[in-house]
């Protein structure tokens, strides 16, 4: 029997202490071993550790002899919660991960992915050096050669087919600075064909929500959900997609005994913790929400005063809602009226209520309308603009919010300025380049102001006849930074598209699906990019908080940062001098702090102006000062006094005026200098004779006690507030305005003076308007139900058809109507009777190349699978765990996907579900051999998007992976 280890001398706080105590002690086992020369390596190592002020390797492998162990604060690179990662590094090796206790966002917690991020920089399966494909063979090349060849080919394509023939697909995993750089690069190249994952994520949210009340982002925060009394999740499986958010949700639910209601076609892991679960048919979000509003209006549970003061056009919504009687709702969506009544009453009466949604709601042809319906439910019940309520939109990737904000997007320049001439002139002023020079980079002024091709349609733009693509030529080149290929629907079409390209550049830590999917033989380059742990910068979490993270280790192998690669490309193309005028470049690497400062200088529209690198770094140093629920630091806290954590945008004015950021958007209960605000008056003064300005509602201590329009220099003058401007501010405004300074608005005033003066007067420069229940500029001003393109209910198509065909929408045709009609006529729903919808697994993220290459995660999910209801499985003689063959209505004859069956009641009868993270098997063919040797992910599998089908939201180009059809048979 071994002796119990009670003889340990003391509980040791730190090894330094333990070493100290032992060096003073007598002849213990340790000293004996050391003197006797046993276990030399191990103990010698400890013996030579310097003691003073150095932390030893407290986790992971003990540090090598003499190594100093340093601790770095980084931010998890998976979802948008923004968990702090504390990394311990010795000799440039990341040896351990500790909980980041001080972060108010995660308080030390992680999910499976966050707890495994250290593996990402082990890099077992990462790209190690640049590779190009020569006659079907992967061949190593130098960085110089790769950049030179890519640059030459780009120039050749530009000369032949124009700048719009190149698509610069960026990443939601960029830092803010990287995203900004990619967008700026595309502008200098001369195209708006620049996009990222938000297209297939929350593009519909951004469009729908911004068109309702001003900004298209989460109104509150994960932490603020702790205050909610009723929480609705619609098409959000946060337990798997945002696990750490559930810490706030479940704690709040327990403390407030809150109602937690999950609406989903699938009884998710989130639903397992709900107080009520509502199952509905995929793609019927609008009928369900209108069904709730029907009960609310019927029983007068709406917030009359809120609607009167702060909402425009609710009566138009009432008319539409009146059509959705409980019977019709149940007929279309399958949800019984009694259940909806109960849930609607909770949402309207047990306030504050918050409404959370995710991809389940946003990935449909009608998704802009979906989110608009949610906003209307929120507005009708007065659940926005305060504590514990709001539209808590959970964004996906770690920086999809920031990348969206920074305009890595086909419809806007950074920070939602749009593509109009005024926007270009604003950014040209910030960049200090001549507007006419910039315009000359483009094919023409109209193309400069025309939205680009969305990431969902790039292959259509590459493969359709040239006359159907509304630009000079087809797409000829894709430059893909950090974007999987298998997250986009219609993969067989994508494979064709990849083969058509004249140039494919994949800049990523991993080769991704892009490299393995097609039969390309040449003109394909893989550039090894480091992860964000090998890079510094800022990222914006879903709650709009910016967090600055430090580089943990230097880029491994030959990988480079995004910053450096954009610089090298710019240099090769002769753009570097113009692009990096005000940005310091060290050793070919643009300095992240300078990039952020430039964002600050131009970011007045969205309040990205106050978050200087210095302030953000102070926040990371002082994480422990911020309150868990309010996210605010006490007024007397050093460096960060009074700030909200991460200066959630909008953080108005210059950094010098120290605006605290905005925790809850549109919160009239706070002074604007404390993060208060109103709905944005961005849609004009009146519409059809009715005012669009708020009536009798204003933010706390506002000097203007009613609605007011957006501020310009002219408005300031009318109020006599222009005298409060400093001379330098006035000079800047007059310089910008030229002959007409009165027209200079708050968003293009580079001095920040208009914002500063407005805040001093307690008003908000963007005006005090009404939210729009009726958004007249959208395809469906009042959300209208439309059946999915491939619907299991063809009987409903006549009454609820999809949008009409359009010849050119985002430069390509959208023939959804014809496709839907053909599907109904051909009786596709008979041949493919099961609904197919897709979603996330907690272990993997996005396209999954990175996480499926992580051995700690890959071990947990080793097979691609499809969930099928026991009744459907029995009818098809399918056993749990057996191989099945899945086919979809758009797959070529005889093609199938081979996955494992998971027979479960999680999905209802007639419904099947697949995770979308898998790739590397394509239509029953293993593609492992097509990856460059040693870079194939550990786990490969069929992608659901090989099966998914046509369908695009007209306002955004969003795809429809959440409601299509399939057939399953035993293999």
């Amino acid at each position: 029997m071994l002796i119990k280890r009670t003889e340990r001398e003391a509980r040791r706080g730190m090894l330094a202490a333990s070493l100290a105590s032992q060096s003073g002690g007598g002849f213990d086992r340790r000293t004996f071993l050391r003197r006797s020369g046993l276990a030399a390596g191990a103990l010698a190592a400890i013996g030579t550790l310097p003691l003073g002020g150095v932390r030893k390797a407290e986790a992971g492998p003990p540090a090598p002899p003499g190594a100093r162990v340093t601790t770095t604060k980084a931010v998890c690179t998976h979802c948008s919660v923004g968990c702090t990662v504390v990394a311990e590094v010795a000799n440039g090796v990341w040896i351990g991960q500790e909980p980041g206790w001080d972060s108010p966002l995660n308080r030390g917690s992680h999910c499976a992915k966050g707890a495994a991020v250290r593996e990402l920089v082990h890099g077992d399966r990462r790209l190690r050096y640049p590779i190009k494909m020569v006659n079907g063979q992967w061949t190593r090349v130098s960085w110089d050669q790769a950049i030179n060849e890519i640059g030459d080919k780009l120039v050749a394509i530009r000369q032949k087919s124009g700048p719009d023939a190149v698509h610069w697909l960026g990443s939601a995993k960029f830092s803010n600075e990287g995203a900004y750089l990619n967008r700026k690069f595309a502008a200098f190249w001369g195209t708006n064909n620049v996009d990222h994952q938000a297209r297939i994520c929350h593009s519909t949210t951004v469009t729908g929500v911004a068109n309702t009340w001003g900004y298209g982002a989460q109104t509150n925060s994960y932490n603020d959900i702790r205050n909610a009394k009723t929480i609705i999740f619609m098409g959000s499986n946060a337990a798997e997609a945002h696990p750490v958010s559930l810490q706030h949700v479940l704690s709040g639910k327990e403390l407030n005994r809150a109602n937690m209601i999950v609406f989903d076609p699938r009884m998710t892991r989130t639903a397992a913790h709900a107080t009520e679960y509502v199952r509905f048919r995929s793609g019927t979000d609008i009928p369900v929400v209108w069904g709730m509003l029907w009960h609310i209006f019927q029983n007068k549970w709406e917030d009359e005063q809120f609607i009167k003061q702060r909402v425009f056009g609710m009566d138009d919504v009432r008319k539409e809602v009146a059509k959705w009687t409980p019977d019709e709702v149940e007929r279309v969506s399958g949800v019984p009226g009694e259940q909806l009544k109960r849930v609607a009453e909770m949402f309207a009466k047990q306030k504050p209520s918050t409404f959370i949604w995710c991809m389940g709601a946003t990935q449909h042809t009608v998704s802009t309308a979906n989110v608009r319906a949610f906003c209307n439910l929120i507005l009708a019940t007065g659940n926005v603009g305060g504590v514990g309520l709001g539209a808590n939109i959970f964004r996906g990737h770690c920086n999809v919010q920031g990348a969206t904000d920074l305009g890595l997007d086909i419809v806007t320049l950074p920070l939602y300025y749009g593509l109009v001439e005024g926007a270009w002139r604003h950014w040209c002023r910030v960049w200090e380049v001549d507007y006419n020079w910039m315009q000359a980079r483009f094919v023409s002024k109209p193309m400069m102001e025309a939205p680009g091709i969305p990431s969902t349609r790039w292959f259509d733009a590459a493969t359709l006849p040239k006359d159907q693509v509304a630009q000079q030529d087809n797409l000829k080149a894709m430059v893909v930074f950090g974007h999987g290929g298998n997250t986009i629907t219609r993969m067989p079409k994508a494979a064709e598209g990849i083969e058509k390209l004249e140039l494919l550049v994949v800049a990523d830590p991993h080769p991704t699906t892009w490299a393995a999917l097609s039969e390309r033989k040449n003109d394909t380059y893989l550039l090894p990019i480091c992860t964000q742990f090998e890079c510094s910068g800022s990222r914006t979490a879903s709650n709009r908080s910016l967090q600055w993270y430090e580089r943990v280790v230097a880029p491994i192998f030959e990988s480079k940062t995004d910053y450096e690669v954009f610089y090298l490309l710019a240099k090769k193309l002769g753009l570097a001098e113009q692009m990096f005028k005000n940005i310091k470049v060290e050793n070919n690497v643009p300095v992240a702090e300078d990039l952020l400062r430039e964002i600050n200088r131009g970011g007045f529209s969205t309040g990205y102006c106050g978050q200087s690198p210095e302030r953000l770094k102070a926040h990371m140093r002082n994480q422990d000062k911020f309150d868990l629920v309010s996210l605010r630091a006490p007024k007397d806290a050093p460096e960060v006094g009074g700030d909200y954590y991460g200066l959630p945008w909008p953080c108005w004015g210059t950094p010098a005026i120290r605006h605290p950021g905005t925790h809850q958007l549109y919160n009239t209960n706070l002074h604007v200098k404390d993060g208060g605000g109103t709905f944005r008056a961005r849609f004009g003064l009146e519409y059809q004779g009715k005012t669009l300005l708020a009536e009798g509602s204003y933010s706390k201590d506002s000097e203007l006690k009613d609605g007011y329009p957006e501020f310009t220099y002219g408005v300031l003058k009318k109020l006599g507030w222009d005298k409060d401007l400093a001379d330098a501010e006035r000079a800047t405004i007059e310089r910008i305005g030229g002959p007409n300074p009165d027209a200079v608005g708050w968003a293009i005033d580079l001095s920040g003076g208009i914002q500063r003066v407005c805040l001093e007067h307690g008003v908000i420069h963007y005006g005090n308007g009404k939210a729009r229940a009726n958004a007249w500029n959208l395809p469906d001003p009042i959300p209208t139900h439309r059946e999915p393109i491939y619907t299991p209910r063809p009987d409903l198509v006549a009454k609820y058809p999809t949008y009409p065909d359009v010849k050119a929408q985002f430069r390509v045709p959208n023939i959804g109507f014809s496709v839907q009609k053909a599907a109904v006529d051909k009786g596709v729903a008979k041949e493919f009777p099961l609904i197919l919808t897709s979603g996330r697994l907690v272990e993997y993220e996005g396209g999954g190349e990175e996480t499926r290459s992580n051995k700690w995660l890959a071990e947990l999910q080793q097979d691609a699978f499809i969930e099928i209801n026991p009744a459907d499985a029995a009818a098809r003689n399918i056993q749990d765990g057996a191989w099945v063959l899945v086919s979809g209505p758009e797959m070529a004859n005889g093609k199938v996907c081979r996955v494992k069956a998971l027979v479960t009641e999680r999905v209802g009868k007639g419904v099947s579900w697949m995770p979308f993270h898998f790739a590397g098997w394509f239509q029953n063919v293993d593609q492992r051999g097509k990856y460059p040797p040693g870079t194939d992910p550990i786990v490969l599998g069929e992608s659901v998007n090989t099966i998914t089908t046509y369908g695009f939201d007209p306002a955004t180009g969003m795809q429809e992976p959440k409601a299509t059809l399939c057939q399953i048979r035993a293999a």
């Binding site: 029997m1 071994l2 002796i3 119990k4 280890r5 340990r8 040791r12 706080g13 730190m14 333990s18 086992r29 340790r30 071993l33 276990a39 191990a42 190592a45 400890i46 407290e58 986790a59 992971g60 492998p61 003990p62 351990g96 991960q97 909980p99 308080r107 917690s109 992680h110 999910c111 499976a112 992915k113 966050g114 707890a115 495994a116 250290r118 337990a239 696990p243 750490v244 559930l246 810490q247 479940l250 704690s251 327990e254 403390l255 005994r257 009884m267 892991r269 397992a272 913790h273 107080t275 679960y277 907690v842 272990e843 051995k855 700690w856 071990e859 947990l860 969930e867 479960t904 009641e905």
Partner: protein
Amino acid sequence: MARMKFLCDADRCIECNACVTACKNEHEVPWGINRRRVVTLNDGKPGERSISMACMHCTDAPCQAVCPTNAFYTTADGVVLHSKDICIGCGYCFYACPFGAPQYPRVGNFGSRGKMDKCTFCAGGPEADNTVAEYAQYGTNRLAEGKLPLCAEMCSTKSLLAGDGDIIAAIYKERVTKRGYGSGAWGWKTAYRETIAT
């Protein structure tokens, strides 16, 4: 002296597997060895509950009782540890353990399982604390540094609690009181024949 315990609050566990990968990360546990895992009951049905399982560091540990070579020992903190130098890989402890905690690195017949491996409550093994030798066989020794097991420290929803049994019991009791309904814990219904309404 404190008795170290794990407690998984089944009302909070969302099967995110952070505990599993945190353990892998902290101790570089190889593929195929699962010191900790998350078990889900009634998967996909109403009443679905998950619970994170590892060695429960029993007071009167069955593994210890059946071990033919006396490889196990209980520390003063109530942590059940074992010596891989003494372990012969016979697998008796695997049969004795009600929780499936013991793991074996090799698959095969005739005693070729290799040395047993299991959760150490992040307390290492019989070797001197925080040495390379200890790390190589058992992983890190966080307890010796005054830290708790990383699985619990990193739990996404603060479901998995680890530490002094009295303290975590008090935390759990407070939670149950605030919730105002039966604990929702795994096994509650079997024990008390009480249906849980959350």
